[in-house]
């Protein structure tokens, strides 16, 4: 290719907010649940029902806006977006068009060329739609309104990104901020974070933007990266062949690693937006903003700095631990209970990350409590249990958050401290393995390992290997 092409990318990110109840009614937002069990007249569009705003939704929306350097719109409204579709019980979605709650912010990302600001055009609140389920057997479609009315914020970026890497960095930064606020768990795979990519290409150096397409159904960072690269190629191919890029919405199929144009007739819709007459306009006071600003948590960058000053743990550990608010919370709480920071970080960086990777989970899924981790560490410190036992107990704790003290008691896992009993066993092992004893005495250091192993076996693992090693060496001279 003789020409150099630049990719121009903007993102529309929908985030499901972690409120207990829906945006306009008191129904539960809990995931799962029998179809149509978290519903009421409001979120099923029954005649005569009326919406009432959940104040927590506004709080989260403003908090995200403040954390992304936006201007908060002090007088804002909700607008109705009118279109017919069965997952939309009123056939209009309550959203914000004319006066979105936040505008003109930015997020800083790290690229190979250094720091870069990605602009945020606006953030607005809206309600989610229900779910359509196609029943193959009956050849019909069923609607589940559990998700209808779940609160969303939509974050619309400026077309400031230039590569898949920048897009991923932007999404990760957004996710970190939102998680730190507790506003959402932002999981692409679960749908609590959804990204639509708007992409166009232009010759390097050109001033005008090219025609952009929108891509949907991107359910992982990998899919996003592939979709971006694929669409860039597709558009370049079209332009090189003298054809024009059609403005359309395309659906990404990750298994086929390609995108398909969705029926573009639907995109030419006129939504007839107008302010929802059932909801009063929102007037955001100075007091309200001050209260929210005071509530803002310590964000990742500050936390990292603080950890560097307060805790003697490696920078790499700090980076990983603060990369997840949940993990950072567990770390801090466990340290606050008296555990040594280095020991806590070892458990998190070692066994915890290992198990998370094995089970394909995120740090947000850690279920064990700081109290239990602190107890486990205390047990190892006092040598009540040895490191092998500790790892076993940890695995159970990871799954079920068991109290390690109780568990060790129940399963009799405590290291036997009785010197007499230990000595007896060691002597039996020495007697039963003359060849190894001979080897050791002849200079084979490794033979001791075998004898330690045999002792541990005989003690059913309830001994301190280091102590056994010492005792063997004493007895063997």
């Amino acid at each position: 290719m003789a020409k150099e092409y630049e990719t121009v990318i903007g993102l529309e990110v929908h985030v499901e907010l972690a409120t207990k109840t829906k945006i306009f009614c008191g129904c539960s937002t809990a995931f799962g649940g029998r179809p149509n069990s978290h519903t009421c007249p409001v979120c099923t569009g029954m005649p005569g029902s009326l919406p009432v705003l959940n104040g927590k939704v506004l709080e989260y929306a403003v908090a995200v806006g403040l954390a992304t350097n936006c201007n908060i719109t002090r007088y804002c409204k909700f607008d109705r977006k009118n279109y017919f579709y069965p997952d939309n019980p009123q056939n209009y979605q309550i959203s914000q068009l004319y006066l979105p709650i936040c505008r003109d912010g930015y997020v800083e990302i790290e690229t190979e060329e250094g720091s870069k600001k990605v602009g945020i055009h606006e953030i607005h609140m809206e309600e989610d739609a229900g779910k359509l389920i196609h029943d193959e057997w009956e050849d019909c479609t069923l609607v589940d309104y559990n998700r209808s009315g779940v609160p969303l914020i939509e974050i619309v970026s400026e077309p400031d990104m230039r590569s898949a890497k920048e897009v991923i960095a932007y999404l990760e930064k957004l996710r970190l901020i939102i998680q730190y606020l507790g506003a959402s768990d932002c999981k692409l795979q679960e749908g609590s974070m959804r990204a639509d990519v708007n992409l166009s290409v232009r010759e390097a150096g050109a001033q005008e933007f090219g025609t952009r397409t929108e891509m949907k159904n991107l359910n992982s960072f990998r899919a996003i990266a592939r979709a971006i690269d694929g669409e860039r190629e597709r558009q370049i191919d079209l332009l090189e062949a003298g054809k024009a890029v059609v403005q359309e919405t395309r659906r990404w199929d990750d298994t086929k690693e390609t995108s398909y144009a969705m029926r573009s007739k639907e995109d030419a819709q006129d939504y007839r937006y107008f302010p929802d007459p059932d909801l009063a306009p929102l007037c955001i006071s100075d007091e309200y903003l001050e209260k929210l600003k005071a509530k803002q948590p310590e964000f990742r960058t500050e936390k990292m700095k603080r950890y560097q000053e307060e805790f003697d743990i490696p920078d790499y550990d700090i980076e990983i631990i603060t990369g997840s608010k949940h993990m950072a919370d567990i770390f801090e709480a466990t340290v606050a209970l008296g555990s040594q920071p280095k020991k806590v970080s070892n458990w998190l960086m070692g066994e915890t990350l290992r198990l998370l990777k094995e089970k394909e989970l995120d740090p947000e899924d850690i279920r064990f409590s700081p109290e239990n981790l602190a107890k486990l560490i205390a047990l190892t410190e006092s040598k009540a249990i040895n490191s092998t036992v500790a790892k076993e107990v940890f695995e159970v704790m990871f799954e079920e958050d068991v109290d390690p003290e109780q568990y060790v008691e129940e399963k009799s896992l405590k290291t036997v401290m009785d010197e007499g009993a230990l000595q007896k066993t060691v002597e039996e092992v020495i007697a039963a393995n003359p060849q190894s004893v001979e080897d050791y005495r002849n200079g084979k250091e490794k033979a001791i390992g075998f004898l330690v192993g045999q002792t541990m076996k005989a003690m059913r693992g309830k001994a301190d290997p280091a102590g056994v090693n010492r005792m063997l060496k004493e007895l063997l001279g």
């Binding site: 007249p41 099923t44 569009g45 029954m46 005649p47 005569g48 029902s49 009326l50 919406p51 009432v52 705003l53 109705r80 009118n82 017919f84 069965p86 019980p89 009123q90 056939n91 209009y92 609607v143 006129d270 007839r272 937006y273 107008f274 007459p277 059932d278 909801l279 009063a280």
Partner: protein
């Protein structure tokens, strides 16, 4: 109690009689059901009558009254409710085919308030389809006839409620008013009808037409009943974001026959061309009566009157076009059988399910909201709405009440109005500004024309000034009865 005597009682008088043991809730219900049996086939006020349920409820209420659990002034009184107010377990149709089989799972807050007061529901009254109309002739279930003269319409859209009160087929009724739909049928049928200040009565459970204009209100035999019913249905409802918290809701305390010093303004703009001479005379005579009692009556210019109708129809139709989107055959109500695919089902269901007036307003509403026209029509109409409110604000600096006609003429004959929708729309001229400004308005009977058809007097108050209206209306009513 003797049937004729019982039926002629006002709601509050009946409530008092029940309390005093002179009659019972069951006797009252049986009597009114007998009246319905005799006259309903002629007047057709009701869409649904729940005979067994009504009698059972009356018995239950009577027990509670005797046990001292229900002590309010309306306990035991049988009432009717317009069919756009949701009633749990009872068919609610908005007089439309598209809701011909719809049974709500909850009751509207206004109905619940009545139940808390011990009122017993007789049934649901006929209306213009989805409250769109001025004659009750757009109803899918057939027309209602004016009990004062069955060749004429009862008015609309709360025609069934007004006629039921006039025909003694209930002791009072609830209606809804978006552009005059309580006041106009009240005036055509010779009963009292009131629309309160916007936000006074919860809209939860009222099937929405023009959300920023709709209010529920009473249709009654007397002003005293009107005050009592309004007091019963008024409440602050956290399920309705437009519901206002009010302290001054003891409306029955305003039933004082004294208008000494009451400043009454008569808008010159309301008395121009198009107003029937007999109506004009009756309304001005009413003003004179009040003047004789010490009210200060004078003419003034209200202005912006000619913009009210276009602004109203733009706004109401726009909101309605959106509010009625939920009627799509997917979740409840009528669904077209023979459709191939989703979009055809939507089209057929709505084409078959809605009547022509509803379709007309949906199309109008969709148009004024559409891309390219939104600023020119909808936004402009909202600005006019604000200006109309300001014009009223200026007027209420000088006056306590504004007095005028309710409609340009008395009830037209059946079958004469629907062929010229524009003419029909222009008939709303005196009532719609009140909805646009969110103000309270009441219609009281003030005479009849040479055909014997009732004429209504309208009193309009400033926001939250229902008490001034009630006092003036009550005084006038007493005066009229005095001269009989």
């Amino acid at each position: 109690m003797e049937k004729k005597e019982l039926l002629s009682l006002s709601a509050t008088a009946l409530g008092a009689a029940v309390k005093a043991g002179k009659t019972t809730a069951v006797e009252a219900m049986e009597t009114v059901l007998g009246q319905i049996e005799e006259w309903e086939s002629i007047y057709h006020c009701y869409v649904t009558i729940g005979k067994e349920a009504a009698l059972a409820k009356a018995a239950d209420v009577q027990k509670k009254i005797e046990a001292g659990e229900l002590t309010g002034p309306l306990a035991g009184v049988p009432a009717a409710v317009k069919d756009n107010l949701c009633t749990e377990g009872v068919l609610t149709t908005c007089s439309s085919k598209i809701l011909e089989n719809f049974v709500p799972t909850f009751s509207s807050e206004a109905v619940r308030n009545l139940e808390r007061a011990g009122v017993v529901l007789i049934g649901k009254t006929n209306m213009d389809e989805f409250a769109m109309g001025s004659t009750t002739e757009t109803s899918y279930f057939g027309v209602t006839k004016n009990p004062r003269n069955p060749e004429h319409v009862p008015g609309g859209s709360s025609g069934g409620s007004a006629a039921a009160v006039a025909a003694q087929e209930c002791f009072f009724a609830l209606g809804s008013d978006t552009g005059g739909s309580i006041r106009q049928p009240a005036s055509y049928c010779g009963v009292v009808g009131m629309k309160p200040t916007y936000g006074t009565v919860s809209r939860y459970g009222l099937i929405a037409y023009g959300s920023s204009l709709d209010q529920i209100g009473p249709l009654t035999k007397t002003v005293e009943d009107c005050a009592a019913v309004l007091e019963a249905i008024t409440s602050h409802d956290c399920k309705d974001s437009t519901s206002v918290k009010r302290e001054d809701t003891d409306f029955t305390n305003a039933l004082v026959a004294d208008v000494q010093g009451m400043r009454i303004g008569i808008p010159r703009d309301y008395f121009g061309e198009g107003l029937d001479t007999e109506v004009k005379a009756a309304v001005l005579k009413a003003a004179d009566l009040l003047k004789e009692q010490g009210a200060l009556v004078e003419e003034f210019d209200l202005s912006l009157v000619e913009y009210a109708i276009p602004a109203y129809y733009t706004i109401a139709a726009a909101e309605a076009s959106s509010n009625l989107e939920r009627f799509d055959g997917i979740k409840y109500g009528y669904r077209a059988e023979d459709a191939a695919g989703l979009h055809q089902m939507y089209k057929r269901t709505r084409s078959q399910g809605f009547g022509p007036e509803v379709k007309r307003r949906i199309m109008l509403g969709s148009f004024v909201l559409s891309s390219g026209y939104y600023d020119a029509y909808y936004l402009k109409a909202l600005k006019v709405k604000a200006m109309i409110k300001k014009a009223f604000d200026r007027a209420f600096l000088k006056y306590d009440c504004i007095l005028g006609p309710v409609a340009p003429a008395t009830a037209p004959k059946l079958g004469e109005s629907l062929s010229d929708p524009m003419k029909m729309y222009l008939g709303d001229i005196y009532t719609i500004s009140v909805n646009l400004a969110g103000l309270p308005g009441i219609s009281v009977p003030c005479g009849t024309d040479s055909k014997g058809l009732p004429i209504g007097l309208q009193l309009i108050g400033d926001c939250f000034q229902e008490k001034k209206l009630i006092r003036t209306a009550y005084t006038f009513e007493r005066l009229r009865k005095g001269e009989a």
